[in-house]
Amino acid sequence: MPNMSLKKVTMPEQDPNVRNKNFNEVALGYTKEQAMEEATRCLNCKHKPCVSGCPVNVPIPEFIKEVAAGNFEKAYELITSENNLPAICGRVCPQENQCEGVCVRGIKGEPVGIGRLERFVADYHMQHAEKKSVQITKNGIKIAVVGGGPAGLTCAGDLAKLGYDVTIFEALHALGGVLMYGIPEFRLPKALVEKEIETIVDLGVKINKNVVVGRSITIDELFEEGYKAVFVGSGAGLPKFMGIEGESLNGVYAANEFLTRVNLMKAYDFPNNPTPVKVGKKVAVIGGGNVAMDAARTAKRLGAEEVYIIYRRGEEELPARKEEIHHAKEEGIIFKLLANPKKIHGENGWVKAIECVEMALGEPDESGRRRPVEVEGSNFIMDMDTVIIAIGQSPNPLIRQTTPGLDTHKWGGIIVEEETMHTSKQNVYAGGDVVTGAATVILAMGAGKKAAKAIHEKIQSTMNA
């Protein structure tokens, strides 16, 4: 008899007023007992709607059944048959729009806590399992992967399992992409990301850090060096600015810079780590997505007294995950909605205040969201010390500029065939944010998987021909 409770088993969290002063993880995870109890809420549906909601088709009811029975290692094997980074996805997947969004239990009450269970299983495995050395028969075929974010890591891992000789080329000094430099420690501990990456490296993937493809070596040169296929997973790292007056004042950051200083360079532990960051008493974060929430919650933790989210549409339109908005509010972030920045005022070269105009919601636009329109004469000014701009990113132009024959959209995204992730250039595949624009970890992973499969099929067919 399944557990018919309408609510998920609550996951313990740090108290909002404690956690908004530290960088430790907010959500603490289930205990064994809590996980087993939550697992009993799954109905083990025959048609498995949840699985079709997951971009990488994790065998959800099957793994949950093992959790309910206390067979956590078996559950781990089932999850990792489809998902190389379960500890990460369990934490940052927008489950409410994916697996949990279509869970039958969600029709009446809360869906099964699939993400929480996935997280529990991955964490349990990390704490308990002995490291097994995997035996893979190598086929000696060289494949290059550009970028060590979730797309590149997944593609590399899948191809390595099939015996390929895979090398990841990563521009930064650390792998992980946005997982390392963007998503904050309190949501996704970096030690955990490193551990997940280690399991991929243990499959025999070679890592070439500090290599900027397009500068240190081009894609054409990779082919000259004997690589048979190249997967491009270089992400969407180029920050957008608004083009308003005052954006180059001292104290104005792109969210990428602010978050990179804090996450990758660990500025929260300055001067123990020598990279500094500036946060004043009053901080304005412009934008309403996950990136904006992360920047705001980070600023609060660094000691800012008042942190505002300034967003030009309404509450309903906020693109961030519900859970992130909820957490931000609990931590004391102030939402200034229906407000659009017009100018950043300065004093002696530093940010002094931000000027905004009030917005009203008009008719729905092409995206289906109601279009914000300025309310004339409603300008208002708020004093600020720091302004963080989080209005989106686009793909970095370096690869398209240095790779002849690689077709891209006007906005910069690489054009691929949906089924294979093959680009317009022979034997070059691409996936993740560089194809879709800023999206999600799991979609990037799904793209990496698809490309790995297509690369394998293509190489096999040419070998058999």
Binding site: L172, H173, N210, V212, R215, S216, Y253, E257, P274, T275
Partner: protein, 274 residues
């Protein structure tokens, strides 16, 4: 890990290192730079590629010891390794086959200037150079420049080498004498580049400068290195570091470069540096 094959002191504040870095050495061009981390927790600091050897797979950097990270780098010896060393970054300099070019190098700016001047020399361009520094000891690479330039002029604050005064004093003299240059390449502290442009702009002489804003990734990801050139926002790490000096907003650059003045200070104290 990147091995330090050679280390040499050029004067009390400036050192040279030859580093084994195959991926940088294979494709770098004059005007490009690298970013390194001196240790596992280190800041990412940009330094221009002063020279390279494709066969030996080495890159030469010349750095001035100014703060915590450059001190940390300086504590390394021949045979030690640098954990991270990425490049080449930035656009290669746009060197044209002019008749005559004047290079101006202020202090350690002589180091990034050198590969550009040498390339121009190899292209058959006649080059003159003005080198400036606090005093005689702070002039670097004078022998190297003298070997390839028609004329090397000097300016020191205390008059111990060449003219007593600034590189701009020499520049004014040369221009007043009627010397004509198709282009001037000025690399040094921002104040120096601004002063050079102050002279060349009214005369409308093409002037290239190399900007050195605070950087992190050097790949166009953080936007921290943004500079205003001709009214447009540019990222120095991918659109530069060389820019048309006549269009650069130097005051903004100087202001942004000083953004972490206080922290840099506390950082040094906090870690018991000199």
């Amino acid at each position: 890990m990147y091995k330090i094959l050679k280390k040499e002191k050029l004067n009390e504040a400036v050192e040279l290192m030859v580093v084994h870095a195959p991926f940088v050495a294979r494709s770098c061009q004059p005007g490009q730079f690298i970013i390194l981390r001196a240790d596992e927790k280190g800041e990412r600091i940009p330094l221009t590629i002063a020279d390279y050897d494709r066969e030996k797979e080495t890159v030469t950097i010349i750095y001035q010891i100014v703060g915590y990270s450059t001190q940390l780098l300086s504590s390394k010896q021949e045979g030690d390794t640098i954990p991270d060393f990425v490049g080449p970054l930035g656009k290669p300099s746009d060197l044209k086959k002019h008749k005559r070019v004047l290079g101006i190098g202020g202090g350690v700016g002589a180091a990034p200037l050198y590969p550009q001047i040498r390339k121009l020399h190899e292209m058959g361009v006649a080059v003159d150079v003005i080198l400036g520094g606090r005093s005689k000891e702070f002039i670097i690479l004078d022998k190297e420049f003298e070997a390839i330039c028609d004329k090397v002029y000097y300016a020191t604050d205390d008059g111990t080498k060449g003219k007593k005064g600034f590189v701009t004093d020499v520049l004014n003299e040369l221009l007043n004498e009627g010397k004509e240059y198709d282009e001037i390449i000025a690399i040094g502290p921002l104040v120096m580049m601004k002063a050079v442009v102050g002279i060349t702009k009214p005369k409308n002489i093409k002037t290239a400068v190399s900007l050195n804003p605070i950087m992190i990734d050097g790949t166009g990801m953080c936007g921290g290195c943004r500079v205003t050139v001709g009214g447009e926002t540019k990222f120095a790490c991918v659109d530069g570091p060389d820019f048309d000096g006549l269009l650069v907003d130097f005051d903004e650059c100087m202001r942004r470069q000083g953004m972490y003045k206080e922290e840099e200070h506390s950082c040094r104290i906090g870690l018991g540096g000199k």
